[in-house]
Assembly symmetry: C2
Homo-oligomer: 337 residues x 2
DNA sequence: CTAGGAACGTAAAACGTTTTATGCAATGCT
DNA sequence: AGCATTGCATAAAACGTTTTACGTTCCTAG
């Protein structure tokens, strides 16, 4: 496949009767050309529909007008089209809209650390990395190349790094607990995952604080993220044995679906006897019976913040970061009394 | 911003004690090097972590491993972050998954015909264009540059062009009309957008055919896509004045939400007095009261088909196209009798 | 003993820009 | 008059590859 070439700087130079240097300078406001020459060259270029070739230009280290997006969580899953993981799709869509609105192109890039490395990967102006790991190799490579990046979710173990945006997990935990409280819940159990990430830890802290304020005994359960729906269903047994709380707050959508399923199977009615809420909305939460109330991230606000920070970084300006976004609470049948 | 450069072919050549030509040939299986030299060079390159620079390589016309995605419909909306237009977000997400799964990067590109043209735009290997217009200038530019492309939605007025995938709009319009019919509707109004794309035109054709078959008088309304919810609400006035039909089929989710809102505000009960359906599901449709029945596209199947075709095109192989995908109908409160 | 190939490498041109270093008038200053 | 300065424009180098065209060396057939 040989691409047809467009009009080159040489064509414009010939047409305008000047050197290619003159054309370059005229179009980029460099050098010392007379106003007349500059105007003339511009007119000719405009009329010919000249567009500088990005590749050639990029070869000389100028910005590409494009930023990359690496979805770390998907890389980990190993499957790029996982069923029902719509957080991913929504974030991509939102980031795309936001980038386009700023006149930037957004490029979705597969894992940078596994060959074959996507050819354009290291030629982009900057990167958004979602859910970075501890000592993330993707981030290591970006730093090695001196490519600016921002992260969605705070990079674990990097207190000095501030170029991130994330959901305000403390605020959103409050949102859930307040809702449950106003629906009459006194005792609330928390089911969190086992990954030591900001998501699990932040919610847990807030939960414990809330319990203390309300003089209620904390009931904290840990369930590995990958235990999925079955894990949740199994946990329901323990919940029943140890006394059904007024509400169960599961940080993971699949756990919530499983817990509710397990409770109902054991004759515990939802939402009449106990309520169920999840911290991350998903297809599972929406299609459960009753539908499970959920926190819904705000990928639009998140990606907008990230692009603001990234643009500052690329331009070498100080960035207003970190930035927190607010989740929305979606009340559904599982908490409707 | 000056990017830090990585290891170049020159570094590898020096290290391996050969010419840069040798390195290039060894790594690209060209030329006539001995197996030993080839292996040696490869080993050195591997060990040094050499990755050819995509920009320099692209300058010599080789594939970039990246395809572009132009969302024509978003260009038409004029707003790149329209609230609740989740068809786009879903399609983008799906296309991204599919591209990544094939080892391709996907680049989201703003309108190619309005300056500033995104720098990398004409350096990509191929394009997916969604909802092309009649005589679409974006497509004209791609053809001018000889860049292969596929379209999501058949390009109107181009019977000879086959490199597209689309929802089978005739089938899905049938799906909606049949559903309405079995719910007792005799007279159905169609509200379409003003973009002259296959989506609007195909549904309109099917609708007109259906009216003829059923001896019912067509009632066709055109509303600019960007009129949004307000436009729909305003249209409801006309619908009432001209006689409330048994059902209103709006191709756009936001129009549907507006129409229903406008009807209800004028005392027309939904679904008792008239039903409302939309051709594209959206947040607006789901959160309306009652929730609006909708067609749900299958962006995963669609984008998979498109990438298959595009990869064939890029490789110069014959493509298996066009391809049709099926939409699902989601009955909700607005058509439940 | 030599012409004609293989077999293996490399030099150099090309890709389309940007940038650095000059060149050459014309002008200003002593 | 001679020298520095300014104003304008360009030549050439660089960016990192791929590709074309050319050299070697060595073998083999005549």
């Amino acid at each position: 496949m040989t691409r047809a070439r467009g009009i080159t700087i040489r064509d414009v130079a010939r047409e305008a009767g000047v050197s290619i240097t003159a054309v370059s300078h005229a179009l980029n406001d460099k050098g010392t050309l007379s106003t007349a020459t500059r105007a003339h060259i511009r007119a000719v270029a405009e009329q010919m529909g000249y567009e500088a070739d990005a590749l050639a230009r990029g070869l000389r280290r100028s910005p590409m007008g494009a930023v990359g997006l690496v979805l770390r969580s998907l890389d980990a899953l190993g499957d790029y089209a996982p069923a029902g993981v719509d957080v991913f799709e929504r974030f991509v869509g939102a980031a795309a809209s936001q980038a386009l609105a700023r006149g930037l192109s957004l490029m979705l890039v597969p894992d940078l650390t596994r060959p074959p490395v996507p050819p354009l990967a290291f030629s982009l102006d900057g990167y958004i990395v979602t859910d970075p790991h501890v000592d993330d190799p993707v981030i290591a490579r970006l730093e090695e190349r001196g490519i600016p990046y921002v992260t969605y979710g705070r990079p674990p173990g990097r207190p000095e790094f501030t170029h991130w945006a994330a959901e305000d997990d403390r605020a959103s935990a409050r949102l859930v607990l307040t809702h449950l409280e106003s629906a009459g819940a006194r005792s609330v159990a928390l089911v969190r995952g086992t990954d030591p990430n900001a998501w699990n830890l932040g919610h847990q802290d807030t939960y414990l604080g809330w319990c203390e304020e309300h003089g209620s005994t904390p009931r904290l359960y840990e369930l590995p993220e990958r235990a999925g729906v079955e894990g949740g269903a199994a946990l329901a047994g323990r919940l029943v044995d140890e006394g059904v709380p007024d509400a169960v707050f599961c940080l993971t959508g699949r756990h919530a679906a499983g817990v509710q399923q397990g409770l109902v199977a054991r004759g515990v009615r939802v939402p009449e006897r106990t309520m169920v809420v999840t911290g991350s909305d998903s297809e599972h939460a929406r299609t459960s019976r009753p539908a499970i109330s959920a926190l819904e991230l705000d990928p639009v606000a998140g990606s907008a913040a990230l692009l603001d920070i990234l643009q500052s970084l690329i331009a070498g300006r100080p960035a207003d970061s970190p930035r927190l976004t607010r989740a929305r609470f979606r009340p559904r049948g599982s908490t409707r009394r």
